[in-house]
Symmetry: none
Subunit: 401 residues, 2 copies
């Protein structure tokens, strides 16, 4: 069932404003059974006031028990079924560093590796080469020239970099060249379908020239290629919701994901306060704003309960600048849970809050995981959130007569 | 959406142990509105302790309002969408007595019946002939010989037995021969599709020879055939979850269902205490244990509220032997509800409990239908339970990057 079949048909335009305020990895776990989660421990007077006036629920990012990465997590929030729309690994990596993929591009995650005298891999991550050393090497690989194909090489972090191939007749179905073990040489790129044969040949030539350029290196004298993928085909927010949408994010990954669904990327904010300033400056120009806050996830990933609590309090403090703008619909949620107890993304439902004039309030008093269990939105798959946003913004007509 | 697409791709191996403890027909109804169900009436200190530390929910076996049989009920618990995977009645009965069906076999549920002098059915169950009398008769029917077809006849219980036909070109679409009323003769086997014509002919010949063999019997001098079906094609637990799984059940049906998904059948326990001994003996050898307890269902089917309460207390008492083994994930649930007020399987959601280190507890204090409504798992389709089990056992990787 494609939800967009309904929203494409039913959406109407008006002057309402919707804000989706996302605390990455917002959901958590208590430090002991029966205790309080990070969100429940944090002092969140602004979110609690919204919770009291609004409606709460627990969103399931993909399906019960499934822990999503950032790609599927955000696709769900944006209303794109994460099981229907897949973003290839290479495309996600390119997106994550702010590379704007074009139709027909093939994006590849590349790793520097160490090769021994026989050409066998001795270290799959080139001795975890630091970024200061690896970035210049990635840039050096821009010297590779392949007739008829434009080659982009972008540093990422440590042993990782991105290669994008642009040219006619390229397709992304090529197998990884990382053998996943040491003591053997990297694999040759092999096409999985006939359409992708040219890509495999181009990749092979890229590797040949790259090894020539790297031959005098001690650590990073080889490379492997993974996650070959084209630009994902996602319809835009304008098409499926009739929304002129913008994203205000600090990190390239979330800007990139927003760009894939046709959002404009606003400003160059580096802090949540700067993000709010960008929001205020552009308030009149858009119908929908996606505001992404990273640190609820990164502190969770670090396994730092207290630090996550503190970051949630910062996340809460910024809310007043959103409410001051009087959005018609304000949604506060996360793309998944990142409990500091697990120090990783998890499957737990995500506390979610929707505040709007015609939402049906539910008697909940605070914003937290336990309270959200009793909320009026119940437990729901995240992909339904945008439909609820549109409805509460009175931007959806009646289905059927 | 095939859930196994995700679990096949994402499952990882580790040394965690998962136990699924199933009280057949566990859910119930109060004797008057506002009263307590069987489970809520029973004293269940062990389950209540688990409920307090774990997370509760209400599982919907198939879809809201649908009362499942044992087959779909268990398929759902095992994570096989019961609307996608169907098990024919004959295959289920053969499975239930431990007959290992092969690809291409056709299994049939057969009943002994009593025929009068005109060949009309006078008793559809042969006077509820006791097993001691009927089993030798079923074995006698092994004398039936049909060229090109191997015929297996297996006693079941009382008037019931199983026939399995094995040979080239057999298909299972043949209509039941039980007319469901007395005073008329059994029907002839009729193929529902052209592929199954040979099966219908073979079945007719089987009946002819069987009646010859039974002609001197007083009670069981006839037979009817029902539920013609082939072996269901179910992928194994090892394939879809990466789990080495075992079943500890008393009744053949549940052993058979477990065998269909590739579980090993352990021991010959006849009581719940013996089942727990089998569990203890095999604890090191498996990743996943399915323990089936029948009597919560049979007492419900008998319409005996007090007896179901007592059986639930026995079910509870055995829990301590499971928890003593310290499983990483312990799930307690049922395959459906069997309220003694209805004396039958019902559609009501099934109280479900999941206890694991990283489950997010929900403030529920006791294990019962009303409390489960407030639980952190919400209401969910039973097919998602295995994904939750794997997630809580940290046996599922992240979906997407």
């Amino acid at each position: 069932m494609d939800l967009h079949r309904l929203t494409r048909e039913l959406h109407v335009k008006n002057s309402t404003k919707i804000v989706m305020y996302v605390g990455d990895g917002l959901g958590g776990l208590p430090q002991q059974p029966g205790g309080r989660t990070e969100l429940e421990t944090a002092k969140t007077p602004n979110l609690d006031a919204l919770a009291k006036a609004g409606v709460l629920g627990s969103s399931i990012p993909v399906l019960p028990g499934i822990s999503p990465g950032s790609g599927p997590g955000h696709l769900g929030l944006f209303g794109y079924d994460p099981l229907q729309y897949m973003i290839g690994r290479g495309a996600l990596e390119a997106t994550g560093i702010g590379f704007e993929l074009k139709e027909g591009d093939v994006a590849i995650r590349a790793n520097f590796c160490s090769l021994d005298a026989k050409g066998n891999i001795s270290d799959r991550r080139a001795g975890r080469i630091p970024t200061e050393e690896s970035a210049p090497l990635a840039i050096k690989l821009r010297a590779v020239k392949i007739p008829g194909v434009e080659v982009f090489v972008e540093p990422v972090k440590e042993h990782r970099f991105v290669v994008v191939l642009r040219g006619a007749g390229l397709h992304g179905s090529v197998q990884d060249t990382d053998p996943q073990i040491t003591g053997v040489p990297p694999l040759d790129p092999v096409a999985s379908d006939s359409q992708s044969k040219k890509t495999a040949e181009v990749a092979k030539e890229f590797v040949r020239q790259a090894r020539e350029l790297l031959k005098s290196e001690t650590k990073a004298n080889g490379l492997t290629l993974r996650g070959f993928s084209g630009k994902p085909a996602l319809p835009s927010y304008e098409e499926v919701y009739g929304l002129k949408a913008a994203a205000i994010a600090v990190y390239p990954m979330y800007k990139g994901l927003a760009r894939l669904v046709g959002m404009d990327i606003l400003g160059k904010a580096q802090t949540i306060a700067e993000q709010m300033t960008v929001l205020e400056e552009h308030w009149q120009k858009y119908d929908f704003f996606f505001i992404h806050y990273k640190y609820t996830d990164s502190t969770g990933e670090d396994g730092n309960f207290d630090s996550k609590v503190k970051r949630i309090e910062d996340f809460d403090a910024a809310v007043s600048r959103i409410t001051a703008l009087k959005p018609d619909v304000l949604i506060v949620t996360g793309d998944h849970s990142t409990p500091s107890m697990l120090a990783s993304h998890s499957w737990h439902p995500v506390p979610t809050l929707l505040s709007a004039k015609f939402c049906r309030t539910d008697g909940c008093e605070r914003f937290g995981e336990s309270e959200c269990l009793r909320g009026g939105l119940g437990q729901f798959e995240a992909k339904h959130l945008m439909t609820l946003a549109l409805a509460n913004a009175q931007r959806l007509g009646k289905f059927g007569a």
